[in-house]
């Protein structure tokens, strides 16, 4: 609901079409959740709101930021680089696989 509100605000204030203002909404949510993770607030919010924050893009951004924070002491390459996708990697992999499968189904049934 808050995303919908944000979408309308962007659409009216910046005079953007709905599709482009949607991109801005996603960017805002990603930045906001990453900052909240970094200052140590997001994990308390997760305890309270649970899946409402974990399932959307906020959860994805949070999983990457929290992993990066966790491994920052082990260096840029072997620490952050190797571990930032520790939780998010599985979402990316199966997200891409699912897109291929459903894209193929759509192509075969509806024809593109």
């Amino acid at each position: 609901m808050s995303s919908e509100l944000l979408l309308n605000i962007y659409a009216t204030w910046l005079h953007l079409p709905r599709k482009e203002s949607g991109v801005l909404v996603i960017l805002t949510l990603i930045i906001l959740s990453s900052v909240l993770t970094a200052i140590g607030i997001f994990d308390f919010l997760v305890q309270k709101f649970k899946s409402a924050l974990i399932i959307p893009i906020t959860g994805f951004a949070h999983s990457m930021t929290s992993a990066a924070l966790e491994y920052k002491n082990e260096g840029l390459v072997l620490g952050i680089g190797a571990n930032i996708f520790k939780l998010a990697g599985t979402v990316i992999l199966y997200g891409v696989v699912a897109v291929y499968i459903f894209g193929l189904i759509r192509l075969l049934i509806i024809g593109g």
Binding site: T37, G40, F42, D43, F44, V46, Q47, K50, I54, H62, S63, T65, S66, A67, L69, E70, Y71, N73, K86, L87
Partner: protein, 332 residues
């Protein structure tokens, strides 16, 4: 295997508690509190855990006015991979070192090894230490610490703290009277969020064998204290002892995981866990009660789920262990 000891005494102990422990009911019984943050002035949680143990052993030596050369053996263990906290802390002391791992039952394993060295007169003074840090345990066994994934109500909360116990052959107020080494028990539970259920059968087996081998009743002890079964595990153990072994523990039994925190007010779910949970309660709180003659005989039963996250992902069930150590007040 049950052993009796004649000349193993606990000369002194030193305990350090962290933030959550200092908000709990046992605050005033810990020798020192590290309650400012979780880093203790170090750069990472792992280094903080090393500092916790290093400081603990130094303060214990200072408390009893001993030099490093007076100690024959240092036994220590923790939850980190390669028991890193113990290894890295031990490099600061010129004391022969044995590193051990029994997860949350580590303090029990250490006490049994130490007691055997002292009883057989191979060592005069021996320090048994253990340390745990909530954040390193979270990182090691669960998700990144900042992730804060919602947890099941049966899961427990790793204690931050460290405890060192100085065993000696010189007579003092509290003696280690007997011990039973636990068997690894696995009833096929795979739920890592319910360690109480995993460890309760191991505790039951050890308590039963200890009591029958020594021909004692549960009431022989003023208190039977398990390590970290938590709120639900505690109930499971009482039921399991009744069903399986026909023994009623309910009058003398308590669990350290439910004592160390205020379960109603603190965000610790089913209670405390970790190698230091049993050690802080047993040797921070109850040891002082024994010194003041308020409690005479305790059966200390630290419990541990000795599992590897890798094998849990490979669908293996979780093995558990518990050791029993009988503590008694002497007439000194």
């Amino acid at each position: 295997m049950t052993n009796k000891y004649n000349n193993v005494y606990i000369k002194n102990t030193y305990t350090i508690g962290g933030i959550y422990e200092s908000q709990g009911p046992l605050k005033k019984y810990f020798d020192r509190l590290y309650d400012q943050n979780m880093y203790f002035g170090e750069k990472s949680f792992e280094k903080a855990e090393i500092k916790l143990l290093k400081d603990n052993i130094s303060y214990l030596l200072k408390k009893v006015n001993f030099q490093e050369s007076d100690i024959d053996l240092l036994i220590s263990g923790d939850l980190e991979n390669q028991i890193a906290a113990s290894d890295y802390a031990a490099r600061n002391f010129s004391i022969p070192f044995l590193g051990i791992f029994n997860a949350c039952a580590t303090s029990g394993e250490g006490l049994i090894i130490g007691a055997n060295f002292v009883d057989s007169k191979r060592a005069k003074n021996c320090i048994v230490s253990t340390v745990s840090h909530n954040m390193t345990a979270e990182k090691q066994f669960r998700n990144p610490t900042e992730y804060g994934a919602p947890k099941h109500k049966t899961s427990t909360f790793t204690v931050t703290g460290s405890a060192s116990i100085l065993l000696s052959n010189e007579k003092s107020k509290v003696k280690i009277e007997s011990s039973t080494i636990g068997k690894v028990i696995d009833l096929g539970i795979t739920d890592v969020n319910h360690m109480g259920a995993v460890m309760a059968p191991a505790a039951a087996d050890t308590i039963y064998r200890h009591l029958t081998n020594l021909k004692r009743k549960p009431e022989y002890y003023d208190l039977i204290l398990t390590g970290d079964l938590g709120f639900y595990g505690k109930k499971i153990l009482i039921d399991y002892m009744k069903e399986q072994y026909h023994m009623d523990l309910s009058k003398v039994y308590d669990d350290a995981g439910t004592i160390i925190y205020n379960l109603d007010k603190q965000p610790v779910l089913a209670g405390g866990s970790g190698p230091c949970c049993s050690a802080l309660v047993g040797f921070g709180y109850y040891f002082k009660q024994m010194e003041e003659n308020k409690i005479k005989k305790i059966l200390y039963v630290p419990t541990g789920a000795i599992f590897s996250p890798t094998l849990t992902f490979q669908k293996e069930s979780i093995p558990a262990i518990a050791h029993a150590i009988g503590l008694e007040v002497t007439n000194k």
